[in-house]
Amino acid sequence: MDETVAEFIKRTILKIPMTEMMTILKAWDFLPENQLQTVNFRQRKESLVQDLVLLCESKRASLRDAALLDIIYTQFHRHQKVWDVFQMSKEPGEDVDLFDMERFKSSFEKILRRALKNVTVSFRDAEENAVWIRIAWGTQYRKPNQYKPVYVVYYSQTPYAFTSFCHLKSNTPLLSQALTVASNHHKIVKMDLRSRYLDSLKAIVFKQYNQLETKFKSDFHGGILAERKEPLRCLIKFSSPHLLEALKSLAPAGIADAPLSPLLTCIPNKGMNYFKIRDK
């Protein structure tokens, strides 16, 4: 096994918290169950990682296997990344989209490789007909940097792709092109929408609203809030299965003054949560 691959696997496994170790290794499915049982999971983490890396060496783990482990780790820790949203569009009146996942993957990889020889592309199918793509960028003269990959999550036959924040902005056009062409779209724009929570972003762009009725809960029974002359200064924590909708309904319910700040109400309507405020 290549030294760099061994080091990469070692560093990835070291990141995994002990409570998740078994789950993630099982999801990786590279080290078989019977081999994992021979490992002492109660020892110090550093020694455990050494044992695991030795096992990977004996099974001749490749860069591909290592990249897959990295994807799985990131899937378990998706909140550690900040996700941007790209919106793609087609020409009107196009044929029905017969999305073929295998063709998408090969087309995507081909487009990247044509432009950049040094790039590592890995895929992992996910639930709801989505795919997680991991891209490690290199340059014309340098091998890909495995420690600063970009992730793309794409749900088939939708116009939206979620990408993790990329330090190397210079590769964004190439990534955009690969996504657009491989998924049979024509144009791509970056939305002013950004969050650590993929599920929230999904809910906003896929407009996944349920028919909720959010009731206002108060522990005070009119105590501290009743009969005050001066305004009350306090910190209010809002939690709700659908927070933005609940905030919108505060005004019609007579609890807040209308109109609500458009900064709050435009988030689901316009699909943006990233605002640039300038001096006039």
Binding site: D100, T158, V205, F206, Q211, L263, I277
Partner: protein, 294 residues
């Protein structure tokens, strides 16, 4: 500017609020000279607006009652307001009639304060599947307030074509798409769940379930070489494929019996839902076993 120093108090949202009030205050200052009793003036203004709001609400209620009372004749001096109200009222009646007529197709609805919320229940072969809702606001123009339609169903296209001109057709079209999608999904799920033994590898599918690719055997014991199937559903309103390609993977491809089987499979996939095709494979297999025993 002095506000820059206050940035530390209260965080970003508070800061934004301050900017907002700053903006509105500076706009106001250009029009009116500043007054010391500004606060109490605002208080009176709020009170006046609230009274006006209550008055308008009462008026709206009165007019709605009047419309219900005098359906036949329109009073001449209020013709303009009432005819607009009637148009909206008319749309509501129309909606009710459509929903009553379509109840048996899985369409139902309930009145909301703004319009109507339509619920589309999908089904396939007598099995009740997922439900989706579309919350319509009855205004000019008619618009969708909320919905739970999956993002890959072409809702925008269907709305653009029919929502304003023919609500009936809009609902019917959406029903078609959703029922067909639910039916295709049901078949793919059934295949993965109940006939996994017949599949030589994972079932490749997409969000709309309109492209399915899989390798299969006719007998789960694996005596026969696998076939490769590629099913395309180019018509999103149907649950049967528009294109079927079956290829035979075995070595003795020249044998006529394999070619016959391949052709008959193609025909089966064109005409029967997926899980029924595999049920018939399973039944044929049982028949073969029975003949070996006897």
């Amino acid at each position: 500017m002095e506000w820059a120093n206050d940035k530390s108090k209260g965080g970003v949202l508070a800061h934004l609020e301050r900017l907002e009030t700053q903006m509105s205050r500076s706009c106001k200052n250009l029009e009116d000279p500043p007054r010391e009793t500004a606060e109490s003036d605002l208080g009176t203004k709020i009170h006046k607006l609230r009274c006006l709001r209550d008055k308008l609400r009462a008026e709206v209620k009165q007019r709605q009652a009047r419309i219900k009372a005098s359906t036949a004749n329109a009073e001449p001096d209020q013709t303009l307001e009432i005819s607009e109200q009637e148009a909206v009222g008319g749309k509501e009646e129309n909606m009710k009639a459509i929903l009553q007529a379509y109840r048996f197709t899985g369409l139902s609805g309930k009145r909301t304060s703004r319009g109507v919320c339509v619920c589309i229940s999908t089904a396939f072969e007598g099995n009740l599947l997922d439900s989706y809702f579309v919350d319509l606001v009855i205004q000019k123009p008619l618009r969708i307030h909320h919905h739970s339609v999956p993002v890959f169903i072409p809702l925008e296209e269907i709305s653009a074509k029919y929502l304003q001109t023919n609500i009936q057709h809009f609902l019917f079209c959406l029903c078609e798409y959703l029922n067909a999608y639910a039916g295709r999904k049901y078949q793919a799920d059934q295949l993965q769940r109940d006939f996994a033994a017949f599949l030589a590898g994972p079932l490749q599918r997409n969000s709309l379930c309109n492209l399915l690719s899989f390798t299969y055997k006719v007998e789960p014991q694996g005596r026969s070489f696998p076939f490769c199937a590629r099913l395309l559903y180019k018509d999103l309103t149907t649950t049967l494929p528009t294109d079927v390609t079956i290829t035979y993977q075995g070595t003795d491809a020249s044998s006529t019996s394999w070619e016959e089987q391949r052709a008959s499979h193609e025909n089966l996939f064109f005409t029967k839902p997926l899980h029924q095709v595999f049920t018939s494979f399973a039944r044929n297999g049982e028949r073969l076993d029975m003949s070996l025993v006897s």
